[in-house]
């Protein structure tokens, strides 16, 4: 089986999420990559170095500049004449493109896989991670999105894939990119961070969030996350949100501060290796999944903790 993996990249750099998708694809067969975008020669070179990759297809055209699904899907469908599986990381880009590709191929997409059980068989979470389904696909071609935290990352070096240009399909003109507001952060990226410090509604406002959560995160070299309540209340931008409808994370250590632990939030972080909870409500559901819990008022406990680290 030949598996084609969508390479996610930004600003000329290949994103980590791609590496997990490569590992998943390697369990299916020969791994090919697709680098689509504008001026992506450098990304293609980097992609060719990934261990275990046989071939890198490069589609360099202005039509692919912002990975608009309308323009990219026909490109992927063309390549799927020679591949049996298409995999994307389960990022917002992957989730946007993959179902469009699947429908054009008349196959059911398999979302957010946690494991590859066989050539047709996969596990995936349903009901906000409260159940794990094992499913078997009857489709001849597979379209799959891969949960990044469920697969080890392929090595960025050691590979020596050939690079092959792909003729661009014409842009559809259905959609155009207007602009982006990307939140700037010097901290590690949430989905790939080893440590995450997350704050919830109990932080009260954005100033408190900044005063308490950011210094603790910086002491630990951690990324900052938030519950939906904190995001909805405007304490932090929504790309901080961890949960079923935000980002799914699985760091080594997840520190939940002032987060009650609603199932929506747990779905996004309960695969973390060690969960630490600080909450003044000892009955908060977060303590049912926390490895280490501290029942305390975060307004005194967090500054004390930051000071003692």
């Amino acid at each position: 089986m030949k598996a084609l993996v969508w390479v996610e990249h930004e600003g000329g750099a290949l994103k980590d999420a791609t590496l997990s998708a490569v590992s998943a694809a390697a369990q299916l067969g020969e791994v090919h990559l697709l680098v689509a975008g504008q001026d992506v020669g450098g990304v293609a070179e980097a992609a060719a170095q990934i261990a275990g990759v046989a071939k890198v297809h490069v589609a360099d055209d202005a039509a692919y500049a912002h990975a608009l699904a309308e323009n990219v899907a026909p490109l992927v469908v063309g390549l799927m004449a020679h591949h049996e599986a298409f995999l994307t990381p389960a990022t917002t880009t992957g989730k946007n493109i993959a179902p469009r590709v699947a429908a054009l191929l008349d196959v059911m997409q398999i979302s957010d896989i946690l494991s590859v059980e066989g050539p047709d068989s996969f596990t995936r979470p349903i009901y906000a991670g409260n159940a794990i389904a094992t499913i078997r696909s009857k489709d001849a071609k597979k379209v799959i999105t891969v949960r990044g935290t469920a697969f080890a990352k392929a090595e960025r070096t050691g590979g020596g894939a050939s690079i092959e240009p792909v003729a661009a399909t014409a842009g559809t003109g259905l959609s155009s990119f207007v602009g982006a507001e990307i939140a700037a952060s010097e901290r590690p990226e949430l989905t790939s961070a080893k440590i995450i410090v997350s704050g919830g509604r109990a932080l009260k406002d954005s100033e408190t969030f900044e005063q308490l959560i950011f210094p603790l995160a910086d002491k630990l070299g951690a990324a900052v996350g938030a519950s939906r309540a904190a995001v909805d209340a405007g304490y932090v931008p929504n790309d901080y949100q961890v949960g079923q409808t935000g980002k799914i994370v699985a760091p080594e250590v997840y520190v939940a501060v002032g987060i009650s632990g609603a199932i929506q939030h747990l779905a996004g972080m309960k695969d973390s290796k060690t969960i630490i909870a600080i909450n003044k409500d000892e009955d908060a559901p977060i303590f049912q999944v926390a490895d280490i819990g501290l029942v305390a008022d975060l307004y005194t406990a967090v500054p004390e903790l930051t000071g003692k680290l």
Binding site: M108, S121, N130, D232, V253, I276, G293
Partner: protein, 249 residues
């Protein structure tokens, strides 16, 4: 312009689902069911577009068991004008749903179809994108802002790094993210009024599309349980634990 809003009846988001002991699925008997939260946001957005004078009529559609009527009545009580139920006891996958919706779209000719970004039961996040593909329309997924301007719509999307705005040629597909709006509650008079709004009952067979499942669920199991943790009594103890974990120096 007419708006089409597909809605799904799902387990209420406050209910903790229980996996059946025989591993055949999640136990849905005697469990509270509601409209999928993202679909409520889709209905709300459609109503706001109507209130702005952008939309003339809102048609809601649901595919599922007879009880999905209740979900449609909820949408009608919020402010939708009429409803279509495609009644079936079979479970229809996103691809099948998209095919049925493509047929409904061909009949109704809406200018915009607004869907939730995902259903909280199967967590697929596929139907809107698939419908856009089948119709050959543009898609604005994970929308946190929707502005119709003449023959196009500007959609601000929630993407991993922040926000992104795209402009789509109409007709188009939009899928809603949580922050798009705050859905309204239906008032009692509106709930009463909704009972007399038109609700057409259709069958999947009328549409002549293949909705047979492509994925077979082999089994459904509980996620791995986390082992019980410990509680520490003070910040000092927590610092010691962090040092043990190698997180703090």
């Amino acid at each position: 312009m007419k708006l089409l809003v597909p809605v799904k009846r799902v387990i209420d988001y406050n209910v903790k689902p229980r996996v059946k002991s025989d591993g055949s699925g999640v136990d849905l008997s005697n469990v509270k069911m509601s409209m999928n939260p993202f679909d409520e946001i889709a209905v709300e957005e459609a109503i706001r577009l109507k209130e702005q004078g952008v939309a003339s009529e809102i048609v809601v559609v649901s595919i599922g068991v007879a009880k999905a009527q209740e979900t449609l009545r909820t949408a009608l009580a919020m402010g939708a004008d009429r409803a279509i139920l495609i009644e079936t006891d079979a479970e229809v996958e996103p691809l099948g749903v998209a095919k049925l919706l493509a047929k409904v779209t061909a009949e109704e000719q809406p200018g915009l179809v607004i869907l939730g970004k995902q259903a909280i039961d199967d967590d697929s996040n596929q139907t809107g994108q698939m419908l856009a593909a089948l119709l050959g329309w543009a898609q604005g997924t994970f929308a946190s802002k929707v502005e119709v301007e003449g023959d196009s719509v500007a959609v601000t999307r929630e993407v991993d790094g922040g926000l992104e705005t795209v402009k789509l040629r109409l007709p188009a597909i939009v899928t809603t993210d949580l922050r798009l709006n705050e859905p309204r509650y239906a008032s009692l008079p509106n709930i009463m009024k909704a009972k007399s709004k038109p609700l057409a009952n259709r069958k999947p067979e009328e549409f002549g599309v293949d909705i047979s499942p492509r994925l077979e669920t082999v089994s459904v199991s509980e996620p791995a349980k986390r082992s019980a943790g410990i509680k520490v009594g003070s910040v000092d103890e927590l610092v010691a634990k962090l040092k043990e974990l190698g997180v703090a120096a």
